[in-house]
């Protein structure tokens, strides 16, 4: 390590290799300092690599961060210490003494090419992970989830099936229920939430008493489904996907119900109404408005 004129040493320790740490390390390294970049996890990148987009420009987050990660790992002035934690430090500005604990990786980092073959070959599949979920006070929602999971098992394969049953029970997926599913299946909340938000048949919000589904399949479309949908939206003053203020109706669109001979087709609470036209819309609404759910 080089001594500077005033006796201070010219190397810097950056703790944490998230996007901020990596950027700081690179700026310093570019200015000619030797940088020790310490990261607690086995890999650098931090939280940003888990994001899809960044605010406010909606840029793809990986597109921003990955070139920096590569650069940081190759930079001559940066020495990476991954899977390492700071144990203690002493001294004052310019001459700190830091003790690092590098955890056993059991892999020779110089030789490893990151091919992933060892991961595939490892017979132990059940990974112990840090849970970001907490045990909830049992309530109606968690009890219903438990009942469903007791019947289906806690395999990852059962996740979508479990969520479908929970969704059918409540009409939507309450947050407590999602947390309970994550806990019971040893998955992170984010993972379960990501699955829920990907698939269309799950809802994160409660729905109205009556659910109006307007088929938007191609056959219905060419026969005027868009107009029918618009008429429902106008009459109920709510857009597709939303619920009326009085909680009576939810309007949804579906891609295709496969009953194309009857298009345009609308399903209310599982009852089919074929050959819909604008003039029939008010009649359909009136029928269900009078009926209790």
């Amino acid at each position: 390590m080089t001594e500077t004129k005033d006796g201070k040493r010219g190397s810097v320790l950056v703790v944490g290799a998230g996007i901020a740490g990596v950027q700081a390390a690179m700026d310093l390294a570019e200015s000619g300092f030797k940088v020790h970049l310490v990261e607690r996890n086995p890999s650098i990148g931090g939280a940003m690599v888990q994001l899809d987009k960044t605010f406010p420009t909606n840029d793809c987050s990986m597109c921003i961060v990955s070139p920096k990660l590569v650069e940081a790992s190759r930079h001559n002035n940066i020495e990476l210490h991954t899977y390492t934690e700071v144990e203690s430090f002493s001294g004052s500005a310019g001459a700190f003494q830091v003790t690092l604990r590098e955890k056993a990786r059991s892999v020779d980092a110089d030789k490893c090419t990151g091919c992933g073959n060892c991961v595939a070959a490892c017979p132990v599949r059940q990974v112990v992970r840090v849970q970001d979920i907490f045990e909830l006070e049992p309530n109606e929602e968690t009890r219903a989830v438990d009942e469903i999971i007791d019947g289906s098992g806690t395999n990852r394969e059962a996740l979508i099936h479990i969520l479908q049953r929970v969704n059918a029970t409540f009409g939507y997926l309450p947050e407590d229920a999602i947390r309970r599913v994550a806990l019971r299946l040893s998955l992170s909340f984010a993972e379960v939430y990501g699955t829920v938000s990907f698939y269309k048949s799950f809802s994160l919000e409660p729905k109205g008493e009556h659910i109006i589904q307007v088929c938007m399949g191609t056959a219905c479309h060419v026969r005027g489904a868009a107009g029918v949908l618009e008429e429902f939206e106008n009459r109920l003053s709510v857009e597709a996907g939303g619920t009326t203020d009085d909680g009576k109706f939810t309007i949804e669109t579906v891609n295709c119900l496969g009953a194309c001979a009857l298009g345009p087709i609308v399903v209310v609470d599982g009852e089919y109404h074929g050959n819909m036209s604008l003039s029939k819309v008010s009649g359909v609404i009136d029928t269900y408005a009078k009926r209790a759910s």
Binding site: R156, L159, Q164, F198, Y199, T218, V254, G258, C260
Partner: protein
Amino acid sequence: MHCNSIADLNQYCDSLKSDSQKNQIIISTNATCCLLQGAREVADAFQEEIDRQGLADTTQIVLSGCLGFCEIEPMVILTDQDILYQKVKAKDVPQIIEKSILGDDVIQRLLFRDPVTKKRNRNRDLMTFYQKQNRLILGNNERIQPTSIDDYLAIGGYQTAAKVLFEKTPEEILDDIEKAGLRGRGGGGFPVARKWRSCRKAESEDGVRYVICNADEGDPGAYMDRSVLEGNPHSVIEGMIIGSFAVGSHEGYVYVRAEYPLAVEHLEQAIRDAESMGFLGDNILGGGHAFRIKIVQGAGAFVCGESTALMASIEGRVGRPRAKYVHTVEKGLNQRPTVLNNVETWANVARIMQIGADEFRRIGTEGSPGTKIFSLVGKISNTGLVEVPMGITLREIIFDIGGGIPNGREFKAVQTGGPSGGCIPEELLDLPVDFDELTKVGSMMGSGGMIVMDEDTCMVDVARYFTSFLKGESCGKCVACREGVARLSEILERICAGEGIEEDIDTIKELGEYLADSSLCALGSTAANPVMTTLKYFKHEYDEHIQDGYCRSGVCKGLFQYEIDPEACTGCAACSKVCPTEAILGERKEPHEIQQDLCIKCGECYKACKFDAIAKAHVSEVVV
């Protein structure tokens, strides 16, 4: 009864043959669309009447699956009398029994009037809808009740699988399928035998291999797979048993859309029945082959019809496709070799092994043997499921089988292949339909949706519709698809709103090329097909939208207005009666007029006018 050997099976099937000599009344109540049109009430009325008159000894009701002709449901077929009655209501039932079953009469008013020949036809042999079809797969629907395994056994079901399991080696099955030239019916048209062979050869660390049936029929306007699963679920199971034996698999999955509750119900029962009879299990018919099937229900994601996304979804993950450097036949579900075929393909497998590869090859074309089921929907007289030999022309399907366009309108285009397909114009209608020909003109076979469009369909709007559909269904993994389709959709929305500019056309073409080159799965790489084909064959409509601010089809609101021709208007008031905003004024028997400021352009008056007096015109200049 549980069959422990092939002798058990034969004995059981013989015992079924004795009591099938009754007069059969076939009513399709085991398919979603027929139920919606009141088939259940008709069936109940028949049952009640038969019980009341004590006809149960001679007459039997068959509650079949889809009979194909959705337009005229509920239909009733009397087998002994060879009569087909259309759009039957419960109140017609006593008359049918009295006149046609007990008597010898035909009730004329219930016969189907053919839109092509204009004649009322007594039975299906006389109907153009059925004449040009070859119902290899769907034909069995009318002979069985889908919830009854005995019915399926009585027409020879499972006996093909039994024979194959005992008399053929897996290699021989692969050879047969190869000889038959079967290609995947899900849309891609990949040779089935080649897929199976690769899977059989692929190494599996623990010997586990999977066969999967893809029943995630997401293409809007397509419902062939639903009808096969609802109407004849055992044929799919039988195909899967044969396939599992050929590739050496013991575990199967059916991935089915949750939007198809009846299909799930029938399939569940079929699997239960097949297990209790010994056709699925650890030792099928005592021959040593083990195979079980599980049902997995989708959760509403179009992209899950893609093979790798589907497998991710079965594993309980988010259904995003992955790059296929390593094919799924080598590493698919749970990293094991996996065969994935669609419902129709599996149903074909059992039929091929039953009739033989040579017989199968006689149907269809050299490159694409066999039949294909299409759902013929949209602006067409005879809406329904049609099963045709490959190589038939589009014109024959639309104008002979489909009966042409209703209400005297002009044909404009036919859309095949779902959101990845394209629109085919009138001048290409003599194209023979098979996997290769449709691809040549920029469309594709797809899973079999065939949506007919007439002069009232705006092609720019159709492109906008598909693009906005795909925008919503993109899984978001590839930038080109996630962002490119969204931009494409924005441009088309703008053109449909009358705000398009000249450069838009070039931008669309450029985006289309990028999409095709830089998306991982077919959803993205074919996403521009609907807009590219409409641009190729209907460029003048784009030009009209952009340059003249005019939508000739009367779909894009703001780009046209309805006008009443005072010469043609008779003042019948049919239009003012249906107008939801009371925008049409006029004295009776005097020409009417549309108040343009009140008109919401819903088109109800246009549809109601019997004198062609309402026309779509350019938007008139607003005088301030």
